[in-house]
C-alpha cells in the first residue's frame, strides 16, 4: 500500500485537476461539428460541381451553420481563458510543438474556406437575400464559372475539416500527463464523432423542412414563417436518406474507434488501465454507457437503419440523440481525463 498526504491545496488543481469545465467540451464539440460540416460540404461541392439544388443543404446551409458554430465555439474557448485580454498573443507566434497553436491557426483558415463554400450556392438557397445584395450573385457566378476554383474550395474544405476534426482530439491526446487522453485515437474518434454530428444535423434540417401532416400546427406555422422571412427555397428531401446512410457509417466507425481506444488503454500500463476503468466501471461508467454509447450511438444507429429500410418515418430523434451524444462524449472525456493521473495508480 502507498499513502500520499500533501499540504498542497491549489485551486483548480487539488484534490484532482479540474482546470477545464464546460467551455472546453463545448468548444471541442462545436469544432468537431464544424469539421464534419466542412468535409461534407467540401465533398458535395467536388462531386456536384454544377449548381444543382441538391447541393443546397450541404453546401450552403451547412457552411453557414458552421460559421455560426465556429464563432460560438471560439467564444466558449475565449470564456475559458484566464488572461482574456492577452488572447491576441496566440497570433503573434507559431509554436510547432503545441497542438493549441496549430489549432488557432487552422481556425483562422477555416473561416474563409467555409465562407467561400457557402457563397458558391448562396443565391440559389436564399434568392431573397441575393436579390437584396446583388454582389452575392456576382460572387457565386465568379466561383461557379471557374472549375478549378470550385475544386480548390472543395478540397480546402475537406483538408481543413480533417485537420480541424483531428486537432480537437490531438489537443487532449498530446497531454501525456493525463493517461486517459494519452491516445492518438482521440483524433480520429473526435473527427468521426464530428462527422456523425454534422450528418445528423443536416439530416435533421431536411426532416424539419419536409412537409409533414402529423407535425403540430404551431410547429408548421413556425417553420413556414421562418422560410418566408428568410426567403429560402424548400430543400430537396432526396438528400435525407443519403445523409442518414452516411451518418450510420460514421456512427459505426465512431463505435469501432471507441472500442479500440478503450482496448488500447486496457492493454497498456497500470495507469492507463486505471484510467480506462474510470469509463468502464468507475464514476463515469454510467453516463458514458448510457449517454455516449447507448443514446448517442446505438439508438440513433438503430433508428436510422429502420428509417432507411422504410420501417419508420424519418424523424428528428436520431439527429437530436447524435448531437446530444457528441456533447456527452466530450464532457465525459474531458472530466474523466482530468481525473486520471499517474500518481493515483500508485495506490
Amino acid at each position: 500500500m502507498i499513502e500520499l498526504t500533501t499540504t498542497r491545496h491549489n485551486p483548480l488543481i487539488d484534490p484532482s485537476l479540474h482546470v477545464w469545465e464546460w467551455q472546453i467540451p463545448v468548444y471541442l464539440f462545436l469544432g468537431g461539428l464544424v469539421a464534419g460540416l466542412m468535409i461534407i460540404a467540401g465533398i458535395r461541392l467536388i462531386v456536384l460541381r454544377p449548381s444543382r439544388r441538391e447541393a443546397l443543404v450541404c453546401c450552403t446551409i451547412g457552411p453557414l451553420l458552421g460559421l455560426a458554430a465556429l464563432s460560438l465555439g471560439m467564444f466558449a474557448l475565449f470564456l475559458d481563458l484566464a488572461h482574456k485580454l492577452h488572447v491576441w498573443r496566440l497570433y503573434t507566434t507559431f509554436e510547432p510543438t503545441s497542438p493549441m497553436s496549430w489549432g488557432s491557426w487552422i481556425l483562422l483558415l477555416v473561416y474563409p474556406a467555409l465562407l467561400a463554400n457557402a457563397l458558391a450556392h448562396l443565391p440559389e438557397a436564399i434568392p431573397a437575400l441575393a436579390r437584396r445584395f446583388p454582389v452575392l450573385v456576382a460572387i457565386s457566378d465568379f466561383i461557379l464559372a471557374r472549375l478549378r476554383l470550385v475544386l480548390a474550395i472543395g478540397f480546402a474544405n475537406v483538408a481543413l475539416g480533417v485537420a480541424l476534426g483531428i486537432y480537437t482530439g490531438i489537443l487532449l491526446g498530446a497531454l501525456g500527463a493525463r493517461p486517459l487522453w494519452n491516445s492518438a485515437l482521440l483524433g480520429p474518434l473526435f473527427l468521426f464523432s464530428g462527422l456523425s454530428a454534422a450528418a445528423a444535423l443536416l439530416h435533421g434540417i431536411l426532416v424539419l423542412s419536409a412537409p409533414d401532416e402529423e407535425r403540430p400546427a404551431f410547429a408548421d406555422f413556425l417553420l413556414s414563417s421562418l422560410a418566408r422571412v428568410s426567403g429560402a427555397r424548400p430543400l430537396d428531401p432526396n438528400a435525407g436518406p443519403v445523409l442518414a446512410g452516411a451518418d450510420n457509417s460514421f456512427l459505426t466507425i465512431e463505435l469501432a474507434l471507441l472500442g479500440l481506444f478503450l482496448l488500447g488503454h486496457l492493454t497498456s500500463t497500470a495507469v492507463h488501465r486505471q484510467a480506462a476503468g474510470l469509463l468502464l466501471t468507475g464514476p463515469y461508467a454510467a453516463p458514458f454507457w448510457v449517454f455516449v454509447v447507448g443514446l448517442g450511438i446505438l439508438i440513433p444507429l438503430l433508428l436510422q437503419t429502420l428509417e432507411l429500410t422504410h420501417r419508420i418515418r424519418h424523424t428528428l430523434a436520431p439527429a437530436v440523440l447524435v448531437l446530444f451524444g457528441g456533447i456527452a462524449l466530450r464532457v465525459i472525456l474531458v472530466a474523466a481525463g482530468q481525473e486520471s493521473h499517474w500518481f493515483h495508480a500508485l495506490n
Binding site: V87, M100, W342
Partner: protein, 179 residues
C-alpha cells in the same frame, strides 16, 4: 552552459514547511496558493512501513511538457541554468500547461497567468540560494549546477542513492530526492 538542480535529503527533511513559508514570502505567492508543498509518502505495511517526507515543487524538467504544449511561447526554458519559466505577459491562461504537467506543479495566479516555482532565479542571479534552500533548518535542501562536477549537488548525486518523481513520465526532472 549551466543546468541548475535541487537535491533534497529525505532522511533529513522533517516536513516543517519553512520552505513553503519562505517561498510564499519571497515570491508574494497569493493566499490560498503555493509554489512548493510537503508530501508525506508511506509505503509498506506494519511492522515495516517506510515514511518519506518530501518538499516538492516544479521539477524544472529537461523535457518539459508544459513548454512544448504552450501555444504562445510563454512557458519557456531560460538560458540561465535551463530553468523553466513563464512570461506573464505572453500567457493567455489557456491552462494547457497545467493539464500537461504530471506533477500538478502549476496553478493559475489570480491575475490570470500560469504560475509556479522559478528556482528563485532572481536570487540565484545574485549568487544567492533559492529562498526555500536558504531557510531550511535541517539543511536538507541543496541547490547548484549539475554541469559543475565539483558542485555540492553533483557530489551528492554521485555519492548517494536518489530518485526523481515519476521518471516513467519521461520528463527528466531536475529535483532529486536522496534516500
Amino acid at each position: 552552459m549551466s543546468r541548475f538542480a535541487m537535491v533534497i535529503d529525505t532522511r533529513r527533511c522533517v516536513g516543517c514547511q519553512d520552505c513553503v513559508v519562505a517561498c510564499k514570502t519571497e515570491n508574494s505567492v497569493p493566499q490560498g496558493y503555493c509554489r512548493d508543498w510537503i508530501v508525506e509518502e508511506v509505503h509498506g505495511a506494519f511492522p515495516t512501513p517506510h515514511l518519506e517526507i518530501r518538499s516538492e515543487r516544479c521539477n524544472h524538467c529537461a523535457e518539459p511538457p508544459c513548454v512544448s504544449c504552450c501555444p504562445t511561447g510563454a512557458s519557456h526554458v531560460h538560458d540561465f541554468g535551463g530553468v523553466v519559466l513563464v512570461h506573464h505577459d505572453l500567457c493567455i491562461g489557456c491552462k494547457a500547461c497545467l493539464a500537461a504537467c504530471p506533477y500538478d506543479a502549476r496553478f493559475i495566479h489570480p491575475d490570470g497567468y500560469a504560475d509556479k516555482c522559478t528556482f528563485c532565479i532572481h536570487r540565484v542571479a545574485k549568487g544567492l540560494d533559492p529562498a526555500c534552500v536558504s531557510v531550511c533548518p535541517t539543511h536538507c535542501m541543496h541547490f547548484g549546477d549539475l554541469d559543475d562536477p565539483t558542485s555540492e549537488v553533483s557530489r551528492l548525486l554521485a555519492s548517494r542513492t536518489h530518485h526523481t518523481l515519476l521518471p516513467e513520465a519521461g520528463t527528466q526532472p531536475r529535483v532529486f530526492y536522496l534516500t
